[in-house]
């Protein structure tokens, strides 16, 4: 057999050994087994921790508003891996001989594993925990799951390279970027964002906003921005500058479209008032279960057997990694039929409502007109009238959504490396300085919604006048 034949055989064997996933958004995603790192990625997909993501929906309860949005964090994570590979090619192209293969491997695997730590209904579960005084975000769960000596992830990572586990976990934990490889998991063009915008748009059926993905990737460059929170200082401290992804000027229209698409998805999908209402109801249910879980009558009150993963987790000292891994969307949704027979009236009512999609009645304060002063006054009037009902949560106020070009739940100022920069005379400039369209969207809006258990309360809220007294 000659050398060419040997090479051909090797390629054929690799091709046969490689694994393929057919994906509705990205087409064929190949895990090339001639590359050790991709072989590792495929093994990681097969772990118990990663397979759990099949049972956590990417958009949680959005399915109640957009019935086709049933895609999972499993398929999203594989898509993120696929895009991370492309971003690494960009880094290789931009850095040329300065490219560090080992750091790129860390970023690629971190991208694949970035969502491991999500709980059931993701941010809803996190908010419930926060309301119970537990400050542990999904990023921390992710890092713990990766480092877990009893888990299936760490042995695979250490087998690939000793110390690889720590490198991957640290990259995901880092609040601020340390190098361009970090931009693969956290930047204005990180793999997560590039994936979910495409997939969520496709799966919700939203026709609004398109992303010119190939053109954006082709025009991606690397430049330095300052980590310092923006103010009138010049931001020229050299030690605070970090490399991140920026776009060449000719991609400005595509960048505008990208941000507009993102803005539209936030406004129409992520912050949809019905979805927000369903999230609040699931949160209310989980908080009630958590409260009852430690009581002597937990099983009867909640309708759940004592060994149910929810009761196990909410037990005192029950918040272990193992208990967390037992929780996912299907565990909660599957328990609704049991909770629907709970002795506790609130658990029973919420479970039955969620099961049958009999959601609370929603009201967006925007219906009183676009004037911010009038809206703010209306909010005061409703809060004053329903002071008791808001306290007992039969009326829920939702003021957490924040809408502008960098929309984030919670509304904190977006970090500089997560903002979009365009190269203007080879210097990065935040897009809002160059684009009048984007500048117009810079103004922050925080829509306020109320969710009413009773329809008559919503009707009442629509007619409240300032001089009326609080509801008795």
């Amino acid at each position: 057999m000659d050398v060419n034949q040997l090479a051909m055989n090797f390629m054929n064997n690799s091709r046969q050994a490689s694994k393929r996933i057919r994906d509705a958004v990205h087409g064929l995603i190949v895990f090339d087994h001639s590359k050790e790192i991709e072989k590792l990625a495929w093994k990681l997909v097969g772990t118990r921790e990663f397979q759990r993501l099949r049972r956590i929906r990417q958009l949680g309860v959005s399915e109640l508003t957009f019935p086709s949005a049933v895609h999972t964090r499993f398929v999203h994570s594989i898509g993120v891996f696929h895009i991370a590979r492309k971003l690494i090619e960009v880094i290789q192209r931009e850095l040329a001989s300065d490219f560090q293969g080992e750091r790129a491997e860390v970023a690629l695997i971190a991208a694949l594993l970035h969502d491991l730590g999500h709980g059931p209904f993701s941010h809803v579960f996190e908010a419930v925990q926060q309301s119970r005084g537990v400050v542990k975000r999904h990023e921390q769960w992710t890092a713990e799951l990766i480092r877990n000596p009893d888990g299936e992830i760490k042995p695979l990572l250490e087998e690939h390279r000793p110390g690889f586990t720590a490198d991957v976990a640290e990259l995901l934990e880092a609040e601020n970027p340390v190098d361009i490889y970090h931009a693969v998991v956290s930047s204005s063009f990180d793999a997560d964002r590039l994936e979910y915008l495409q997939r969520d748009r496709f799966m919700t059926g939203s026709g609004a906003g398109a992303i010119d993905f190939d053109w954006l990737m082709d025009n991606l460059r690397v430049a330095e921005v300052s980590l310092e929170a923006p103010d009138e200082d010049d931001g020229e401290d050299e030690d605070l500058k970090v490399p991140t992804f920026c776009l060449a000027m000719k991609a400005l229209p595509a960048a505008e479209q990208f941000l507009l698409a993102r803005n539209t998805l936030h406004e129409q999908v992520y912050f949809h008032k019905t979805t927000r209402c369903a999230q609040k109801m699931v949160g209310k249910l989980l908080r009630r279960i958590a409260k009852l879980a430690t009581g002597a009558e937990a099983a009867r009150e909640t309708g759940l057997p004592l060994n149910h993963p929810l009761l196990q987790f909410y037990q005192k000292g029950g918040e272990t990694l193992a208990a967390y891994l037992d929780l996912d969307d299907s565990v909660v949704l599957g328990a609704l039929s049991l909770m629907a027979h709970a002795r506790d009236a609130l658990v029973q009512d919420l479970a039955q409502r969620i099961q049958s999609r009999r959601l609370y009645k929603t009201m967006d304060v925007g219906e009183f007109g676009s004037d911010p002063g009038r809206q703010a006054q209306k909010v005061r009037d409703i809060e004053q009238y329903f002071v008791q009902a808001i306290q007992n949560e039969s009326v829920i106020k939702d003021d957490e959504a924040a809408l502008n070009i960098y929309s984030v739940i919670g509304g904190d100022e977006e970090r500089i490396h997560k903002r979009l920069h365009i190269l203007d005379a080879r210097k990065p400039k935040e897009i809002s300085e160059l684009s009048p369209i984007i500048k117009a969207l810079n103004d922050k809006k925080m829509p306020i919604r109320f969710f009413f258990e009773k329809q008559e309360d919503r009707d009442q809220a629509r007619t409240i006048r300032r001089e009326r007294h609080a509801k008795p």
Binding site: A229, D231, G373, A376, G410, G411, R415, H421, E430, M446
Partner: protein
């Protein structure tokens, strides 16, 4: 307690030239004032620039909606990063009875402080007081990385010492 939007206006009124630059700065000022015993009543959670109050963010929006404050957006010279400049619309100044009128000197000082130093001071205090992180010094370096270098963390601790706030000062 005063309306929250009025508190926002009062903080701005006490700043030099009744002008305050950056949402992040406004957040850190309110947090530090609260730690110094000024009862503003905002609740905080940890975000990427340190302790952040959603209530305060909402109060800023309400202050704009009720016409107390105006916000102008400017761009940083080096990379075009947009930031907010807050000014009073009426120019009437802080009410004498305001909860915060006795903190004028501190507000003036914070308004001129380096923004990263303020971020680090608020974060160090948060880690020690609220997250109860024993080795807060190690944790803040882990979270804030390069921001803690070039004397910025030392300056933040000097500021806390001056304000008699933990962890620079033991208040137990």
């Amino acid at each position: 307690m005063q309306n929250r939007e009025q508190l926002v206006a009062d903080i701005i009124a006490l700043a030099p030239e009744q002008k305050l630059v950056s949402r992040v700065r406004l957040q850190k000022i309110a947090y530090l004032l609260e730690q110094m015993g000024c009862d503003l009543g905002f609740e905080y959670s940890y975000h990427h620039y340190g302790p952040f109050s959603h209530d305060l963010d909402r109060a800023i929006l309400d202050a704009k909606a009720f016409g107390l404050v105006k916000e102008v957006v400017a761009n940083r010279k080096s990379d075009g990063a947009s930031y907010s400049i807050f000014e009073l619309t009426g120019g009437n100044g802080a009410s004498e009875s305001s909860t915060i009128s006795s903190f004028k000197n501190q507000i003036q000082r914070f308004a001129k402080s380096n923004i990263t130093v303020l971020e680090l001071a608020a974060t160090a205090n948060w880690l020690a007081e609220y997250e109860k992180v024993e080795d807060w010094g190690k944790e803040i370096v882990k979270r804030k990385g390069v921001k803690t270098k070039n004397n910025r963390l030392a300056n933040a601790l000097d500021l806390l010492r001056e304000l008699h706030l933990p962890p620079a000062v033991n208040t137990q």
